[in-house]
Amino acid sequence: MSETVIPYMVKPHPVTGLPNGKLGIWLFLASEVMLFGALFSSYVLIRIGAPHWPPEGGLSSEILNVPLGTFNTAVLITSSITMVLAWASCKMGSLPRFKMWMSATVFLALVFLVVKYFEYSDKFHHDHFPSHDNFFAVYFLLTGLHGLHIVGGIVVNTFLLTAGSKMWQTDPEHFTNRVENAGLYWHFVDLVWIFLFPSLYLL
């Protein structure tokens, strides 16, 4: 099986100067920028074309729950630092510390989703579905897609925390690179929220 392993997962590739996994995750993130960029561009277009935003009147901050949104922003920022600490723990050679910080990251991601669940159910309770108007169509699409990215991050991080961590015994450097790549993705998900929160809740 060893000859089927992807090359340059630990040592940098002589051409790029990077391990293949890292270049791969950055290219993936570039494609993610275009995905969210296209939707953000549509949002700007819809807003510019609307006589009033939100269409039903008032302010976005009166329709959406700003304290919950702020809380969730803090949750994601905290999960970003715990992710950095998980990677740093690997770099410093401590698997138990990695597990502690990675568990915290997964826990915070779940907290984010639970808060989002309460926000969504409140909107549904008031008959505010994506079909209600452009404001809710944009809100549910952007936060929904972002929420799916949170779910994806939870799956990857949970794998690294459980079955994936066996690699620590055989190839700790490769495992550390995997954690770093998962971290790059996770910080990107945080970064998207940094723009979504003010654009949707506050403006």
């Binding site: 950055w26 570039a30 702020t70 630092i81 770099k91 910080h187 723009f195 654009s199």
Partner: protein, 104 residues
């Protein structure tokens, strides 16, 4: 792990905590500014500047972009260019549309 890598990471720990606190503070500032009820163009400008500063800090420090290889910068410059195009193109068409209909 090698001792050099260990030392290298411990040197950066302080920076991670500083960025973490700065991100929380800037979140509070964004929310605080929204209660000032500035005019919409000003509010959008301020919020997007704060968001860009926060995003810059996450990318530079948490994602280690500050000391990354050239090939990543090349990928990101291309991405930024296409992202700008993506934002500009559909909106440029609406401006053209409006200017083509004087008095509307």
């Amino acid at each position: 792990m090698d001792a050099a890598g260990h030392e290298d990471v411990s040197r950066h720990m302080g920076k991670y905590y500083v960025v973490f606190v700065a991100l929380l503070c800037l979140t509070a500032v964004t929310v605080g500014v929204s209660y000032l009820h500035l005019t919409r163009p000003l509010a959008i400008t301020v919020a997007l500047i704060i968001a860009a500063v926060k995003a810059g800090m996450v990318a530079a420090v948490f994602m280690h972009l500050i000391s990354e290889k050239k090939v990543i910068y090349a990928v990101l410059i291309l991405t930024a260019l296409f992202f700008a195009l993506l934002l500009a193109l559909p909106n440029l068409t609406t401006f053209e549309h409006h200017s083509g209909m004087p008095g509307t």
